[in-house]
């Protein structure tokens, strides 16, 4: 940015406040990120290298034992279950959320849209714990669902304390996020694209798959990622609805920090692995999103 021209003093005068301005604008977010994201992550990483650390201990990085423990079959099984719940929830949210978001964004009367969205987001205002307890009430053997099924002379379902109940609870918790993000994406969809597709001979389903879905792909990816990440961290739903075999990675981490064993090192190692997995997912999204953005 340096100039050799005689006008240099003037340049300095204007460029100095410019970098100062940039610094001032970026500083709050930068400090925030450093304090609340970068430093804690580094601390967790440091802790993850320490075997047998207790609260209050002096930290001495020394090894990868904590990481090796992750490869025990039981721990791998736990991580696998977490991934399964998170992926299953993501797929269910996508399957159920897309039609809803589509309907609200493209088909519902315009003046009702905000109200419909609000209605859909309303459950988010209650405690997630309360929602899980509500599902216990609904799904238990003599609960609301089975009372209804019996009155319709249908066979009852024993869902509570099994994996389907976890998926139901998690999908219910995360569906509003998916719908909101998909709505934002679908709302921006240029309707002339749909007309153009119809004009070129595409039936509504063909137009949906060849235009609507590709056009909203960034939204689909963002919504899926959010649901996946949040689902990966959820332990309330698996815990309350999943029965005896419901240990998830998040719960295992919780146990290491706030449970009886207090193994912060292993908990940190496990956290690092999850952070890495999630970062990888985000990196893929950014890469993918970029490719898509270049065409916009």
């Amino acid at each position: 940015m340096s100039t050799k021209a005689p006008s240099a003093p003037a340049q300095v005068q204007t460029s100095s406040p410019q970098w100062l301005q940039a610094l001032l604008l970026l500083a709050p977010a930068g400090i925030w990120l450093a304090l609340l994201l970068v430093i804690p992550t580094l601390l967790i990483f440091q802790l993850s290298l320490v075997p047998d650390i207790k609260p209050g201990d002096i930290v001495n990085p020394s090894g990868l034992d904590n990481y090796l423990r992750i490869f025990q079959p039981d721990v791998l099984k736990v991580i696998g279950r977490s991934l399964l719940f998170a992926i299953g929830t993501t797929l269910l949210c996508l399957l159920m959320g897309f039609p809803v978001a589509y309907w609200i964004a493209l088909l519902s009367p315009k003046r009702w849209r905000n109200l419909l969205l609000l209605a859909f987001v309303l459950p988010l205002w209650t405690s997630s714990l309360l929602r899980s307890y509500a599902w216990i009430s609904i799904l238990r053997p003599t609960g609301v669902l089975n009372t209804l099924l019996t009155s319709l002379h249908l066979p009852t379902l024993d869902l509570l304390n099994r994996s389907p109940a976890v998926l139901i609870g998690m999908t219910y918790s995360l569906l509003p996020y998916m719908v909101l993000i998909l709505y934002a994406s679908l709302e921006k969809l240029d309707r002339r694209f749909l007309e153009a597709a119809a004009d070129l001979g595409a039936t509504p389903p063909q137009a949906f798959w060849k235009v609507t879905v590709p056009q909203t792909l960034p939204g689909i990816a963002a919504g899926s990622l959010l649901v996946f990440i949040t689902g990966l961290g959820d332990f309330i739903n698996p815990e309350l609805l999943g029965g005896t075999s419901s240990m998830t990675a998040a719960r295992l981490i919780y146990n290491q920090f706030l449970g009886a064993t207090q193994n912060w090192g292993f908990g940190s190692a496990l956290s690092m692995v999850l952070i890495l997995a999630v970062s990888l997912a985000i990196a893929l999204l950014i890469k993918y999103g970029d490719k898509n953005a270049s065409s916009l």
């Binding site: 002339r192 007309e195 070129l200 001979g201 137009a207 065409s295």
Partner: protein
């Protein structure tokens, strides 16, 4: 499938000869009547324009043909078949949209191939036809670009190729050149005209640009407030407007309100509201011969003659003073104020020896150089 449909239509439309027909079509949006009983018959292979000011219902009319809107009343026919229950994706019409609506997630090649891929065309045939279509619009070098990487004119060409590749019965163009700058617009007009001649397909163009409509079209429908004011060839529309609106909207004109004082099969005597007495030769174009009542006399600026001394035995001769001079390159416009108070625009090919504003000048025109239009 579309081929058999075309064959079936063959029998019915040989005596009709129309590709698109609108019969007493109405369209109401939320209690607002946008199209009011439009009747149109567009001939096979014709370049037909719908011309009108914004909000006149011309785009809605086009969308009714494409099938994006369904008429509130009336019927839309393509090749003699009612389209009332035919969704847009089954109509043998393709549209070039205003601002093109090119799929942003697809390349130029994929955009053009879209229609063929939907129809599950064979790969080799698709390849060939896309190549051909891109060549036709001179875009063969841009197949792998995305629409965002193209200029407006290039996008326009791709949109054209995309609409033409399905070999539609009729191509609908919704203000296709509106977003281009003047020079590019002129170029594209020429290309559109060439394409139309080359392909022989029916074109229906919606535009608010009278010059565009006049230069490109075989026939023009002038619309205002949801109604068709007049349908005719460019010269009919320009030289023989049937309503004061058309006369005023197409080109420049001078209008005088008045009423008929005397009628003869070959001459009308009219006195304007400001007391000017005019002789006008009646035309048959206006349907029923005018014999009485309120009329508007229209005189095109280029039909008005100017002289500096009172001409002998000239009819429709009025004295005035020169108010303004507008030099327009190929010609000059003079604004002249008559003693009656009326202002006239006069067009002359060359600059006159301009008199000052105190010198009387005399304007006159022949009885066959002006029109009397029913009010």
């Amino acid at each position: 499938m579309s081929q058999t449909a075309t064959q079936n239509q063959q029998a019915t439309d040989t005596h009709v000869g129309f590709d698109v027909e609108l019969r007493k079509v109405f369209k109401v949006f939320n209690g607002d009547t946008v199209v009011r009983g439009v009747d149109l018959s567009i001939r096979r292979g014709e370049f037909f324009s719908i011309l009108g000011p914004s909000g006149c219902g011309k785009t809605t009319t086009l969308r009714l043909i494409a099938g994006f809107e369904t008429p509130s009343a009336g019927d839309v026919l393509i090749r003699g078949q009612s389209m009332l229950n035919v969704p847009p994706y089954r109509r043998p019409a393709n549209t070039v949209f205003q601002n093109y609506a090119l799929f942003s997630h697809l390349t130029v090649w994929e955009n053009v191939a879209f229609g063929l891929r939907i129809k599950k065309c064979r790969k080799s045939e698709t390849q060939e036809r896309v190549k051909e279509a891109l060549k036709l619009v001179k875009m063969d070098g841009f197949a792998n670009r995305f629409p965002a990487q193209l200029s407006g004119g290039q996008q326009q060409r791709v949109a054209l190729a995309r609409a033409l590749i399905n070999r539609p019965t009729v191509v609908l163009l919704d203000e296709p050149l509106g977003a281009l700058d003047l020079k590019l617009r002129k170029e594209m007009q020429v290309e559109l005209s060439n394409l139309h001649q080359e392909l022989g397909v029916t074109f229906v163009l919606v535009t608010h640009d009278q010059e565009e409509a006049l230069s490109l079209s075989d026939r023009i429908a002038v619309m205002v407030e949801g109604k068709v004011e007049q349908i005719g060839t460019p010269s009919q529309i320009y030289d023989r407007p049937q309503t004061p609106f058309v006369a005023d909207f197409i080109g420049d004109t001078n209008l005088f309100r008045g009423k008929i004082e005397g009628a003869h099969p070959t001459m009308l005597w009219i006195i304007t509201d400001r007391g000017l007495k005019m002789k006008v030769q009646p035309t048959d174009a206006s349907g029923l011969p005018l014999t009485s009542g309120a009329v508007v006399v229209s005189v095109r600026p280029e039909k008005v003659n100017v002289s500096f001394s009172p001409p002998d035995d000239a009819i429709n001769c009025f004295e005035g003073r020169l108010k303004h001079v507008m030099y327009l390159g190929t010609h000059v416009h003079y604004v002249v104020q008559l003693r009656s108070g009326d202002q006239l625009t006069v067009r002359q090919p060359n600059a006159l020896n301009v008199p000052d504003s105190d010198t009387p000048i005399y304007l006159h025109w022949g009885a066959d150089d002006c029109l009397a239009l029913p009010e």
